[in-house]
Symmetry: C2
């Protein structure tokens, strides 16, 4: 791995001081912001996440805020998921598509009230798309990026830790719902969500000034729970089938190619900008789709470019995320595979940076 | 410095293989793509750039391509610079603003023909803003990111090296103009431009497949010119007053605050989306503006967050880029300063990460 040069352009977060004190070893850049990737080692972080509780600086999940009379209308223009039944207090995973049906982001939408939403984004400047659409259609809505930084508490002991800080009412939050909790005189939205399958919460920290006080309080309260600073874990997220925008999909892909057809109500999502483009693929299905794959042999190196998938000399897709799984004793991977070869058990040849391997299409993800 | 974790999301470039072979030591991430920042050391790279010739992988200056009958109209909607006189073959530095006059990017526009432009972007997903505007206003234009990656040849011997590869006609290219040159059967636009003041060219490499052949040819042809792999140099660009979007300005700033008023024709740029918002500041001037500043004392560390500028206890601005200059024997810096304190020679207090320093507003940049 190479070094990363610091600059203001790679934005620090309200929790950077805590992240540094905890001994962060590596970063990625996500939405032009620092996102930790390693504290102890990727494998040690993985084992700890599955056994204890971690506090994650995921400030890079920036919010795009929509506020005003046309906020609901604009939300529906952005996604093929039908939002008519969405209630305040609810979070929804929504594919966002352009006029060709290409994925622009796969965020979580947070409905604060009838005329106010946050879109908690993956890695693309969705703010610019939403502002452009709002301007072009002359909608009556304010669109901006507020000073709100998510802090995730993840792992099997997450609920215990959160109860100590926010009271037992946190246990009542249902999956992908949020409720409001007081901290230093401010109402913070806390959702049961997060980028792992180990359970946990995301706290939408409203204001940089309360970032470190909350960080410190969580570590004080969780000392006997073996709480540590952590981050989204490459191995765990592949095992769990959590996709990564920019890695596993780009604007070349439709939601259906990404296996997100169940989040598309293409017939009824009237007003969605990409609706016309998606009607055919919604009806007939895609010709390639994301699949879990196991790669045989020793641990593979990091997948920093698409690794071609082949049968004979014919390229049939690519692997875009891969890691050695200590718990499943195999290289777990995510790839995009052509319809002709995506059947469970299909064996393919994958060209990694270190040479050829055999890969097999799996029936499902591991977690 | 901390490590950077590789992933497909931090995109490699057509020249990554050459960059790695040349011993890149550090990267930044720019438009979700790897941009080298150090080869030997920032200081050694700086001295070499001023004496010899370097080849820079600046693929991260992605192109937003506008093509179709409404391409020219859309270009004018994006910028307060009057584009009516722009000719095919011309490059223009253009501020891009939103409806509030806030800077969204400060790219170089390249006019390929009357109905085809490239916008060679700084660090924001300008593609999404342009696509959103095109969609919202129902313009007859195609907007996408082509497989075009700029390769810069910079330094006093740049012209000599380029002549050896592309012939003596490269000497005829005027500043911020481009002409077409053949390479492996393809027409490549080559402009006299680049992110240094040491002179040079940018080759718009059209197609990933010809990236490494061109890279290798430049190094073969320039062996006796002491050609090296290089990159935009922090010290040189501050000395030269080359601003960095995301560092020295954000969408909070108007072009006038960035000292880019001379690139705004706010009265005549009819159709520019931010025109109304900018009319007042264009007439009355901004209340804060970017200034060159010298910071006294030993070399400062990297400016990875805004450093507050103060007179007494009153905050009057911030420094956003800083580096020790071996040639000028002072810390050169770029900051934003309030109108009351931006006069040449004004002494201010700057709060760096390592404590307080004195800083003085300069009459001009150093190069």
């Amino acid at each position: 791995m190479t070094l990363i040069s610091p600059s203001r352009r790679l934005r620090r977060t309200p929790f950077s001081q805590g992240v540094e004190a905890a001994g962060v070893k590596a970063y990625t850049v996500y939405n032009r912001m620092l996102l930790p990737t390693v504290f102890d080692s990727v494998e040690a972080d993985y084992h700890h996440l599955k056994q204890h509780v971690q506090v994650w600086d995921v400030s890079c999940e920036r919010q795009v805020e929509l506020r005003g009379p046309d906020a609901g209308r604009l939300m529906q223009m952005l996604t093929p998921r039908d939002l008519r039944g969405m209630l305040p207090g609810q979070c929804l995973y929504i594919p966002i598509v352009d006029e060709t049906g290409g994925m622009l982001n796969d965020p979580v939408a947070v409905k604060l009230s009838e005329d106010r939403f946050w879109i908690s984004i993956a890695d693309s400047d969705l703010l610019l798309w939403v502002k452009g659409i709002a301007n072009g259609y002359r909608l009556d809505v304010l669109v901006d990026e507020p000073d709100v930084s998510p802090l995730a508490v993840q792992g099997p002991k997450a609920e215990d830790l959160m109860e100590r800080v926010f009271g037992e009412r946190v246990r009542d939050i249902r999956f992908f719902r949020f409720d409001l909790f007081q901290f230093e005189g401010r109402d913070l939205a806390i959702a049961r969500s997060g980028y792992s399958k180990q359970g946990g919460f995301e706290i939408y920290v409203d204001g940089t000034d309360i970032g470190m006080p909350l960080w410190n309080l969580l570590f004080q309260a969780g000392a006997d729970l073996n709480v540590r600073a952590g981050c989204p874990n490459l191995i765990e997220r592949i095992e769990s089938g959590l996709l990564s925008y920019g890695n596993d999909m780009t604007d070349d892909n439709t939601p259906h190619e990404c296996g997100l057809g169940r989040f598309c109500d293409t017939q009824t999502a009237i007003g969605c900008i990409g609706r016309d483009a998606l009607l055919r693929v919604a009806k007939e299905g895609p010709v390639q789709q994301i699949r879990p794959l196991a790669i045989e042999g020793d641990p593979v190196g990091p997948c920093d470019r698409p690794w071609g998938l082949y049968a004979g000399d014919v390229r049939l897709g690519q692997i875009t995320s891969a890691a050695w799984s200590p718990d499943f004793n195999i290289n777990v991977a995510i790839g995009m595979v052509r319809i002709t070869h995506w059947g469970v058990g299909t064996r393919l040849r994958v060209e990694t940076d270190d040479g050829e391997r055999a890969a097999t299409v799996q029936a499902g993800f591991w977690n």
